[in-house]
């Protein structure tokens, strides 16, 4: 596990090259890059992780909720991810990308979770789906939209876990495909092909579910 973490490599894009390399930061300032904050954490300013948590736990939780189909599991995994950031802070690299690192850790933690629960995501609890639907502003206006969301959730959960994972990761515009490939430990070409295949699969399942509903 430790080796996995320290071996994690991603090719830094030009965006990373611009990132601050100094970690003597005022961690209360909103203007620091994620990278600068994480370097500060690595150097012992643990409070800087609070700012990173505030910035990232929402999207990370949303991602894990969709990946696992289980809200409690998503909360546990987010907690574990930030715990590991602290524990393995010394392995964070000068030329790292914080977001890519975070999703790399999240992938490991989610894999642990799936191993323990030995599970494809549990059949989605309808109450969960309702909550997802309700989270949307103006929910309830059109029952059709929350229906749509429920179908899409169900379609997502029918995909292989790997397909769901790469598809969700590929929708994070702040992650480059090089970073996604780094997270998944495959080549950039393979990551692109797999993401597109997963999209076609999702489309097929989704429209199949729609068709079943109307007949």
């Amino acid at each position: 596990m430790i080796a996995d973490l320290t071996d994690f490599r991603i090719s830094s894009g030009p965006a990373n090259a611009r990132l601050a390399r100094h970690s003597n930061v005022d961690t209360t300032s909103p203007h620091h890059t994620d990278h600068a904050l994480m370097l500060a954490v690595r150097d012992g300013e643990l409070d800087a992780l609070g700012e990173l948590f505030e910035r990232h736990h929402g999207p990370l939780y949303g991602y894990l909720g969709k990946l696992t189909g289980d809200r409690l599991a998503a909360e546990d995994i987010v907690q574990t991810v930030f715990q590991r950031m602290l524990k393995y802070r010394h392995t964070y690299r000068d030329d790292g990308s914080f977001t890519a690192w975070m999703y790399h850790l999240a992938r490991r933690c989610a894999a642990d979770y799936f191993r323990k629960h030995n599970a494809a995501p549990a059949a989605t609890d309808p109450a969960d789906l309702q909550e997802y639907a309700d989270a949307r502003p103006n929910a309830g206006d059109e029952a059709g939209i929350s229906d749509d969301h429920a179908f899409l959730h169900r379609a997502l959960n029918r995909l292989d876990r790997d397909d769901r994972e790469i598809l969700l990761l590929s929708r994070f515009q702040e992650l480059s495909f090089a970073e996604i490939a780094g997270i998944l430990e495959c080549s950039v070409g393979a990551a692109k092909v797999r993401a597109h295949r997963a999209l076609r699969e999702l489309r097929d399942v989704y429209f199949q579910l729609q068709k079943e509903k109307t007949t």
Partner: protein, 279 residues
């Protein structure tokens, strides 16, 4: 361009990360092929729905748990800090390395050189670790160093230059434990014996006697310094065991090197690897 070729490249068309124009070939094909238009539209539609899928919001428990965990970690980091501070400028290891290094690979020639020509007054300043400032602690360190070198030459004179039989030297080690009141003097004797004695048996006995002083940094540093010049795998493994028992994290770089280097016996490399996990 045919349909298969065009669809192979839909991923590029759908990926917003790509900047710049996508090849005109695909657009030309799409404009003229209703089947591919439908295929493309359905994928675009699915992606739009996926992006529009609202993410659930975490409950308040998550934030509370996170900050509780962060506070825990800060407390334990603060508790560990004094230990780190105590260990950081560890002149102990440097002192021993300095004392032992001129005695490279054993041999009376080197020992004679030390006893006869090394003047600590002349050489000591060179060996002050670059990271230390010449403060009071360093002055003290220097004084200790001189004392050690003095007792070192005494020991060399006593146990090696006189070429006593190993049995006598062994007795010397054992007797020293009982007779010597002064811990510092005893430790100096034991470590010097560990580093220099030609008998495996005597070196192992000295190491054994050092266990009860393993909590002292100067002892751990002495064993570590001796390890780097020890040739016998049996003694090497015993020294590694000692460092593990003493939980000497300063030994990690040396152990890492040993674990990797094929200069060392397999049993030694394995012991170093195990030790790295345990310290």
């Amino acid at each position: 361009m045919n349909c298969v070729q065009a669809r192979d490249r839909f991923a590029e068309l759908l990926d917003q990360r790509l900047e710049g124009p996508v090849s005109g070939d695909i657009r030309t094909h799409l404009a003229s092929c209703p089947a591919c238009q439908r295929e493309f539209a359905s994928l675009r539609d699915t992606l739009d729905r996926l992006d529009a899928l609202p993410a659930a919001k975490p409950g308040p428990r998550l934030r509370a748990n996170f900050y509780a965990m962060l506070e825990d970690e800060k407390r334990s980091a603060a508790a560990a800090a004094p230990v780190a501070a105590r260990r950081r400028p560890t002149p102990g290891a440097n002192v021993w390395r300095w004392i032992l290094s001129p005695l490279a690979a054993g041999g009376l020639l080197a020992l004679g050189f030390v006893a006869g020509h090394y003047s600590p007054q002349r050489t000591a300043p060179v060996t002050i670790p670059a990271t230390s400032s010449p403060d009071q602690a360093t002055q003290q360190e220097l004084a200790d160093l001189r004392k050690k070198v003095d007792s070192m030459t005494q020991l060399v004179g006593y146990s090696l230059l006189q070429q006593q039989p190993a049995g006598e030297r062994l007795k010397g080690v054992l007797a020293a434990q009982n007779l010597t009141q002064d811990d510092d003097q005893l430790i100096t004797k034991l470590i010097s014996t560990l580093a220099l004695d030609s008998s495996t048996n005597v070196r192992l006995t000295a190491l054994e006697a050092l266990y009860q002083h393993a909590d002292k940094e100067v002892v751990r540093a002495g064993v570590l310094a001796s390890l780097t010049r020890e040739q016998n795998p049996l003694v090497q493994v015993s020294m590694i065991d000692f460092l593990v028992a003493a939980k000497d994290r300063e030994a990690a770089p040396t152990l890492q090197e040993m674990a990797r280097s094929d200069k060392f016996d397999r049993s030694v490399r394995d012991a170093a690897k195990r030790a790295l996990v345990q310290i």
